[in-house]
């Protein structure tokens, strides 16, 4: 959470108010409005839009997890797709081999993710920055290779099919049911992460990102907190991977390419590093981007002629957008949002007063 005062003044009179996530009346009303829109959405939207929303929700769980790791704890990971794959394959393999139910496979995926996170995180104890990114990249290839090997050896060369999950007598199927399940999962993830970041652990992570040596000197367990960041982020990501497998009803290694990792990194970059709102905005943007490109191409070229070049245009445009954000707006969409906010907060003035009011 950003710790800038959001009301135009400091009105807290007790410690309890320091803990509340919603501070002002405007915030409460806009949050309620957002909630109503989100609840009404599945009853109004077409199946296609509902599928898009579900994809966004899935992506935002992964993006929040990656933001925790990269945006707050400052540990770079290019192996996010590998963790998603690990979760998806854990669910798929448990289902195929042991016919395990949903309530077993999902926690199992999270546990496998946590263990893998430990493995992914171990190099971070010795490595920083680029070298760490490379080691996670390498682990991504290893995980995906293991998945491919399993598919090939067990004869699921096209992928593993998974039936719709059941909880007791309740079967999770259909876009609308999934929307609520994924929505609850995403909101729960967000809530847990936001609170985690306000706790001592979260502050330790931010300190780590700022400067490891100083953080260590201040008495923060550098190794333990690094590993913890990897473990929590990876467990969340793997759980998202398992949900992805169930939602699609299908697991295959082709989905978890390096490009997927890059897309997740792009989400937190485009959204804005170091902000949970950024993770969500980025997830929305990156997920909807290819559909936007397709719609644009269809409008430009008419007919079906665009089909052959869609993939390439998508790649090129995606790369271009990422470069533009990195060069022109390093703070991402959140940076733009904050600027607009500040503009209205300060209006009719243009700049903040030189002496900041004491907080």
């Amino acid at each position: 959470m950003s710790r800038r005062p959001r009301a135009s003044g400091y009105f807290r009179t007790g410690y309890g108010q320091d803990l509340s996530l919603v501070e002002t009346r405007t915030e409460r009303w806009s949050l309620t409005g957002l909630l109503i829109v989100l609840l009404a959405f599945p009853f109004l939207a077409s199946p296609f839009l509902l599928d898009l929303a579900n994809q966004v929700l899935l992506a935002s769980i992964g993006a929040i997890a990656l933001m925790l790791l990269t945006g707050y704890a400052g540990q770079i990971s290019l192996g996010h797709a590998g963790l998603l794959a690990a979760g998806a394959f854990t669910a798929g393999i448990l289902y195929k081999e042991l016919n395990a139910p949903f309530w077993v496979t999902l926690p199992a995926a999270a546990v496998v993710g946590a263990l893998l996170g430990l493995v992914f995180g171990l190099p971070s104890l010795r490595l920083r920055g680029l070298y760490l990114a490379v080691s996670t990249l390498a682990l991504h290839f290893v995980v995906v290779y293991c998945g491919g090997e399993y598919e090939a050896k067990r004869g699921f060369s096209t992928g593993i099919m998974i039936d719709a999950p059941t909880l007791g007598a309740w079967t999770i199927a259909g876009g609308r049911t999934w929307y609520f399940v994924l929505g609850v999962a995403a909101v729960a993830t967000l809530y847990v992460c936001v609170n985690l970041l306000r706790s001592g652990t979260g502050r330790a992570w931010v300190a780590l990102r700022a400067n490891e040596t100083v953080a260590g000197a201040l008495g923060i367990g550098v190794a333990a907190h690094k590993l913890l960041a990897f473990v929590i982020s990876s467990a969340l990501t793997a759980a998202a991977g398992a949900l992805f497998a169930y939602y699609r009803g299908f697991v295959s290694v082709e989905v978890f390419s390096l490009f997927l990792s890059i897309q997740y990194v792009a989400m937190i970059i485009i959204g804005g590093i170091g902000s949970m709102l950024g993770a969500i905005l980025g997830a929305v943007f990156v997920t909807l981007f290819p559909y936007g490109i397709e719609a644009g191409l269809r409008a430009l070229t008419g007919t079906q002629r665009y089909a052959g070049m869609l993939f390439a245009v998508n790649y090129a445009a995606f790369g271009a957008v990422m470069i533009l954000v990195l060069v022109l707006e390093p703070l991402g969409l959140v940076g733009i949002w904050r600027r607009i906010q500040t503009y209205f907060l300060l209006w009719p003035f243009k700049h903040r007063p030189m002496a900041r009011p004491h907080r």
Partner: protein, 290 residues
Amino acid sequence: MQLAVNILVLAAIYALIACGYVLVYRVSRVMNLAHGELMMLGPYLLLVTAAQFQSHWLLAIAAAVSLSLLTGVLVYVLLMRKMTGEMVLAAVLTTLALGILLRGVMVLVWSAQQQYPASALSVVNFAMALPGGARISLISALLVLTTALVYGGLFAFLRCSRWGIRMRAAGQNPLLAAQRGINLHAVYALAWGLSTLTAALAGILIALDSGLDQTMAIIGLKAFPAALVGGLDSLVGALLGSLIVAAAEVLLIHYVDPLLSEVVPFLVLIAMLVVRPWGLFGTREELDRV
């Protein structure tokens, strides 16, 4: 014997690609994740120049290689120059984004189908018998020769020429180098240009040997472990690292499982990162700067 030849050829490929990673990293501390795509651009440019200079294959290759040099310089001047003051991560992500952009553009312009620059240049590739019963294709032999020449040239360039010394100085301490009147931007641009040039050479030779399609960028990425195993800022290390990675890959594919081809370099990489993260010949203090 054939295995030894295979290892040698693969090592030459990796070494030729890896020296690009080393050049850019050594001079500007940027890990260039667009290297595979820049490498792929070389043979595609060759397709264009081959159509221009149909009779002279040497002229076509020379033109393609110089275009690549120009591309590398342009990448620095137009894009990477803007990232100089930023976090290292931002620069790396920019190269990643550049790679995606390039890949999309290349498919748009030249389509995703497999192409054969060898037939466009009417170069005939044939296998030659070596003593000991092994065989090597003409292009592979050329590849090994090119790698040897490039490395020889680079060593001489970095050791003796004025610009080579400037490059080493800029890599060692940019601030001091700038104060001594070295034009850092020019040095960085030159490093990017040379790196792209060697990558294009590698790409062209691979494409002449086995055709050209989108999977080539993967080869570029697989050469990265070779650079890192040797130490990211050492050319000697890149040679040795390529040999190690290539040997591991060829032997494991031959004796264990062909599917391993994709992961072996990365397994070697992980092993190296655990044991000696700065590589065989790399500089150690890079990792521990505060």
